[in-house]
């Protein structure tokens, strides 16, 4: 796991003890070794820490991330398991009533009626043809099918550019600013230098919010006054990033409903400005989705994706009881890998997304 989550080995500095750097003189960017083939029947008890990490320390850290991910999903898992365990308890033959119950479970996970229908279609057809279908078989095929939906190419993060420019995009209140701070914290832990751009100049105290996070996590925030042109802030931010030679620039954008024409134009402009300052920027546009959101997330991904190129998703607020099932649908429909899940309000409450663990949590 975490093949895509890069790490930068730092030069020896006061803050970072040399222990973890393999070549202390030159900064080397490296990824962890490739993942072993997935085991036949993955189980939650043996998480994917089996993937060989470069060092014991890193392995420990990966495990920490992994544990956090699992812990964060506990509620989701418990609830779904409650339901599904009952359903899957006896390995009986699937019947109409069973499929209906299964439908309810999947729909209440916010997966969406269309996706649910598609997931259950093969089983329905079998049932219709009178072919016997065992509950265990159905379970396996469902799990595989959902995994297939989430099986998307996941390029390295942060993108391999210097500076790498990452935009946080989404509707109001989903957690863009908080997530940006969390990502910054993780990046710093992995040895990257980070700069943030306060391009939400609309919401009251949005800039102060980001600045406060900057003080907590330890990153610089490029800011202008409230009401300033967000494009201008992006320009200034990226120029500053170039001048300072930082590794990653995180751009906090204002929340906007995807149906608002002028706000989407504003977003497009910010993206254009970024590309003028740093070639190819933004290198990654992350759509931040709130796990409590229902079917509207599809419309969000569609319309944001029409305005700007989207590259990935982050799913926030997975520490509640919402199951975030819509993320499966969105990831699949728009081919957007889920990078991270948000699991709380503190800076460390973010875990890289692991499809297998997620599906295991959904399907015990």
């Amino acid at each position: 796991m975490l093949k895509w989550f890069r790490r930068k080995f730092k030069k020896k500095t006061e803050e970072t003890p040399s222990a973890e750097g393999t070549s202390p003189e030159t900064p080397v960017q490296e990824t962890s070794s490739p993942e072993p083939p997935p085991p036949e029947t993955p189980s939650l008890a043996t998480p994917v820490t089996e993937s060989v990490a470069p060092s014991a320390e890193e392995a420990a850290e990966e495990k920490k991330l992994w544990d956090r991910f699992k812990k964060g999903l506990t509620k989701t898992r418990e609830r779904l398991r409650e339901g599904l365990a009952e359903l899957f308890e006896v390995d009986r033959l699937v019947d109409q009533a069973f499929l209906e119950e299964l439908e309810e479970l999947l729909i209440t996970a916010d997966i969406g009626i269309e996706t649910v229908n598609r997931l259950l279609e093969p089983s329905r057809r079998k049932l219709l043809l009178g072919e016997p279908l065992k509950v265990s078989e159905l379970k396996r095929s469902l799990r595989e099918e959902i995994l297939r939906m989430l099986d998307l190419p996941t390029p390295p993060f942060p993108p391999e550019a210097s500076p790498a420019v990452v935009f946080f995009i989404g509707v109001n209140g989903v957690g863009k600013t908080t997530t940006l701070a969390k990502v910054a914290w993780h990046l710093k832990e992995r040895g990257f230098s980070v700069l943030a751009v306060a391009a939400d100049t609309f919401r009251a105290a949005a800039i102060e919010q980001l600045v406060t996070w900057g003080e907590r996590v330890g990153f610089e925030v490029i800011r202008q006054a409230q009401g300033a042109d967000p494009g201008a802030v992006v320009y200034q931010g990226l120029e500053a990033a170039k001048a300072r030679g930082v590794d990653v620039v995180l751009v906090d954008t204002a929340g906007r409903l995807h149906t608002k024409y002028n706000l989407m134009e504003e977003l497009k402009k910010m993206v254009r400005v970024a590309g003028k300052v740093v070639p190819e920027a933004p290198h990654e546009n992350i759509l931040v989705l709130d796990a409590t959101t229902g079917q509207n997330a599809v419309s969000q991904a569609k319309l944001f994706g029409q305005a700007v190129r989207l590259d990935s998703l982050i799913l926030t607020k997975m520490d509640g009881t919402a199951k975030g099932g819509i993320a499966i649908t969105v990831a699949h429909l728009f081919r957007l890998p889920i990078r991270f899940v948000g699991l709380g309000e503190k800076m460390e409450d973010l875990a890289p997304f692991e499809p297998r663990a997620f599906v295991q949590a959904l399907m015990p």
Binding site: K75, E104, I107, T108, A109, D110, G112, I113, E114, V171, N172, G173, V174, G175, F202, R203, A204, A205, A206, E208, Q209, V211, T212, W213, R216, Q226, G255, L257, H258, T259, K260, Y261, N262, D290, T292, T293, G294, Q295, N296, A297, S299, K317, D319, G320, T321, A322, K323, I326, E345
Partner: protein, 443 residues
Amino acid sequence: MFENLSDRLEGVFQKLRGKGKLTKEDVERGLREVRLALLEADVNYRVVKNFVERVRERALGAEVLESLTPAQQLIKIVHEELIRTLGETPAPLDLGGPRPVPLLLVGLQGSGKTTTAAKLALFLRKKGHRPYLVPADVYRPAAIDQLKTLAEKVGVPVYDTQPSENPVDIARKALVEAKAQGRDVVIIDTAGRLHVDEAMMAEAAAIKEAVSPREVLLVADAMTGQDAVNMARSFQEKVGLTGVILTKVEGDARGGAALSIREVTGVPIKFLGTGEKIDALEVFYPDRLASRILGMGDVLTLIEKAQETFDLKKAQEFREKLRRQEFTLEDLREQLRQVRKLGSLQEVFGMLPGIGKKIKQIPFDEKEIVRMEAIINSMTRQERLNPRIINASRKRRIARGSGTTVQDVNRLLKSYEEMRKLLKKARGARGLERLAQRLLRAI
């Protein structure tokens, strides 16, 4: 919001409309569509089940099967059940009891509590009240600043919360302070909290205990999915609610959460948040929402808005023009001026039955309106009355004159053309004519 649900139901009933009499199978088919539509609209699975059951019970009764216009009857039943679920009558804020009257806002993270607190303050101030704002979110970075900034914007005094204080003390002290200052309503903004966070839920309950608010309002996001029921139930059980404010409804969320929340809490929805700006708050009318869900258009809201801001004489002229189907660019300009006062064009036209959805596909917004006005201003009167004469060189002149581009001019002309067609069609179909008459009567 709600457009998709209404389209869907309209589709269902369109099919049913063609039939003379409904068989049991017809009813079932209709109900299946209703069920799908509600699920797609994020109404909770269980809530849908109950809802459909109630409709089935009534629909399978003699009421529909023996009625002369069965499809209409089915629509009526769904409509009535929607209203019943959403609450029969509008529920105004309860501001009774000794002054100052405390109101408490609670909800999940990012649902819009702080913004809504400021909106409520403005709403009440406009009604002649003397509200007082209290930031009691000491956790989220800059949350106190956020409300203080908004308070200044709406011209309402705000308690000087210190982040080191505890929210219960803040609420209690703020109430004393409000009284000393002679304020009559105290709006307490709290931190976002997950309904499974026992400590935070206990805190909310403690604040409530400390100040005995007249209203405890759950601020909920209209985009919420299936989990709305769990969230709302927990807040109801652990804190106790008196009402709901649904935010971010101006987007395209189908807003099924409204039905879910209402069903599990039993408390009325009181307001809708319709934008990020501080005046984007509307009183909630169950019957209007139910009509909107059914695609009947939100005519009443439109009329009310129009009454507030439209220039009556000009509105009357406009109706006259519409009736005669003379809709020139000059009329469009006049409308743009009016509409700028009203809020976004989409929003206004979105309320019109029949054309709401289509007009929404034409990209309009406020800045765009200003630009459009500028373009029309740069035309000669002749061009405005007869846009067909606008050739390439005229377009260039107009663009230069208005500081825009030829593409902008083209876009305007295209929008105008589309609008004209839509208005024509809507008029032909039904809707507009009737609307015009109603407007006339209402104003």
